[in-house]
């Protein structure tokens, strides 16, 4: 496969064309907004978290195929997981994208399809945007330990 095809796998393009998690949710208690200043990608995540478990997620991403697909896969993956499990997944994805893990681990399912992005360093932050935003939102929620809507805005250009 040529590198371009490794990034734009069918599975990525499928998530891009019909992103999951589009349905708004009512009982959200974490709202996190992420922004990628150098590209203009924008993401909005709404999460209902209860007893440390992510009950439901809504993802609204305006961005490129990679950021939208990554957000869509996030929506598919995190539901029903604990905060710790989600953090762990985020870490694994980051290490995979940075090339610190050779093979995508089995236990992240579709998300392994993001591995091809690592050959395009400037696009890594597109793949990470949803995850960075989610984790910041959850951490802030955990730190402030209260119910209610929380808005974080992450502007980290993590991979520069």
């Amino acid at each position: 496969m040529m590198p371009l095809d490794e990034m734009y796998r069918d599975i990525i393009l499928d998530h891009y064309r019909s992103p999951r998690g589009k349905k708004p949710i009512d009982a959200a208690n974490v709202t996190a907004e992420g922004h990628n200043p150098s590209c203009g990608d924008d993401i909005k995540l709404e999460v209902e978290i209860k007893d440390n478990v992510l009950k439901d997620v809504h993802v609204d991403c305006k961005g490129c195929a990679i950021s939208v697909a990554s957000g869509s896969m996030l929506a598919e993956t995190v539901k029903g997981k604990t905060f710790e499990e989600v953090s762990e997944t985020a870490k694994v994805i980051r290490r995979m994208l940075k090339g610190e893990i050779d093979q995508p681990p089995d236990n992240i399912g579709d998300l392994g399809a993001l591995a091809g992005v690592r050959q395009f360093p400037v696009r890594i932050k597109c793949a990470l945007l949803a995850w960075v935003t989610l984790i910041e939102g959850l951490e802030k929620y955990a730190a402030e330990g209260r119910e209610g809507r929380i808005v974080v805005s992450t502007e980290k250009d993590d991979e520069q």
């Binding site: 371009l4 150098s38 590209c39 203009g40 990608d41 195929a65």
Partner: protein
């Protein structure tokens, strides 16, 4: 790739207005680079231009034969460097219509030039209830400094709106420029739409209302003849790196009277007259605005960039770009799914062409094209207010310069068509 050209680029004989692009290409070493095993088609000129051998050699020459700190030194190297540096100042003054050398201040770029005006003239002249009129198509460099100044001063930013065709909307201009207006901030050429704005007309209106006008020439100075006196602007800012010159050099032109009244910007060596714990006085124009060791080497090499452009002739440069832009607009309009921004009439625009694909995000367009050796830009182009107006987060932009030809446009168009097949849309 073009074959190695002889000495200097010249215009071909039959029609003096037509650039010999083949020879020009050969003057730019980077154009023989291969990108992903394809020939480099560089269409990101609005971000920065490539540099001809003459400019690169000027840098070499400087560091090999005259490197020294300027103005302060009495030795031979310092004298060589000082006189070359001041020569560039005079050359720059000539290039924009023959102003006085002391009306030219060297900065790091357009951004610093505009910030200099905001920190000095702005601090001194903008007060509560004053208005600054800023167009909706400005690059952040000509927006954020005024926004912040207004915040500090309690002044008001008014928006000079734009039309869907990418023009300034002048329908309400008589209200927008009024007795409260202190400054009109407008770009000479938009880096997104390519639109050339009616700066001379706006200058007249501003002056009639007792306001000044600052023109961001970052996209205009590289591409067409500039005469700041004819335009009658008060401030004009542009960047070397977008017009064949090195990075790290910008120009600010201001009328001498304005400079005289403005306080200095960066304080330090070179810009003072006398310094003591009791009192500090400042040097004369333009040194008052060039505190510290300037970017000596790059200013000196910028001279070679100006000479290169003059050899081609700015009229011819402009003519060439009009032609290539016309061709690009025509050919891009053949591509299914593409939406092209900005004026269609090439008499109203320059060579920055923004477009979107209804199915494919600009980042994906850029990555796909890059894989084919074609460098374009995708993003908000530092013009978020304009993007908001368009209702888009990003566009793709191809921008042309003297070394681009129809083959480059063809490569772009063919890749865009191929791309739609690739993404299955």
């Amino acid at each position: 790739m073009a074959s190695r050209a002889s000495d200097s680029p010249i215009v071909t004989v039959p029609d003096a207005r037509v650039l010999d692009v083949e020879r020009i290409k050969a003057d730019f070493p980077i154009l023989s680079e291969r990108i992903n095993d394809k020939r480099l088609v560089y269409l990101d000129n609005a971000a920065t231009s490539q540099k001809p051998r003459e400019v690169i050699n000027a840098l070499l020459e400087y560091y090999r034969k005259m490197n020294a700190n300027i103005h302060r030194g009495l030795h031979t190297l310092a004298e060589r460097a000082t006189s070359a540096y001041e020569h560039t100042r005079t050359h720059t003054a000539d290039f924009i219509g023959g102003v006085k050398p002391e009306e030219i201040v060297f900065t790091r770029g357009t951004t610093e030039s505009i910030n200099l005006v905001a920190y000095t003239w702005g601090e001194q002249n903008i007060g509560e209830d004053d208005e600054i009129l800023v167009s909706e198509m400005e690059h952040h460099a000509n927006f954020v400094p005024w926004f912040q100044l207004a915040q500090r001063k309690g002044a008001t930013i008014r928006k000079l709106p734009i039309t869907v065709c990418g023009h300034l909307d002048l329908s309400d201009i008589d209200n927008l420029i009024n007795e409260k207006t202190k400054l009109v901030a407008v770009s000479h050429m938009s880096n997104v739409f390519g639109t050339v704005n009616p700066v001379k007309d706006l200058a007249q209106r501003a002056h009639a209302a007792g306001a000044l006008i600052l023109t961001d020439g970052a996209q205009a100075a590289p591409h067409m003849p500039i005469d700041v006196t004819d335009l009658d602007v008060d401030f004009y800012a542009f960047s070397s790196h977008k017009m064949l010159g090195p990075t790290g050099v910008g120009v600010l032109y201001a009328r001498e009277e304005l400079y005289r009244d403005m306080p200095p910007f960066n304080y330090g060596g070179e810009m003072i007259s006398q310094v003591g714990f009791d009192k500090v006085t400042f040097a004369d124009l333009p040194y008052k605005f060039e505190g510290g060791t300037p970017n000596i080497a790059d200013v000196i090499a910028f001279d070679a960039a100006l000479s290169y452009l003059e050899k081609l002739g700015m009229e011819n440069v402009h003519h060439h770009e009009t032609e290539i832009t016309r061709y690009a607009l025509d050919r891009l309009s053949e591509v299914k799914g593409l939406e092209i921004q900005g004026p269609q009439d090439t008499s109203e625009r320059g060579s920055a062409v923004s477009f979107t694909d209804k199915d494919i995000h600009p980042h994906d367009i850029s990555t796909y094209l890059d894989y084919n050796g074609i460098a374009i830009r995708a993003g908000h182009h530092c013009a978020q207010p304009l993007m908001k107006f368009l209702g888009k987060v990003a566009t793709a932009r191809a921008s042309f310069y003297i070394y681009n030809d129809r083959a480059d446009v063809d490569a772009l168009v063919e890749a865009l068509i191929e791309m739609r097949r690739y993404f299955g849309v």
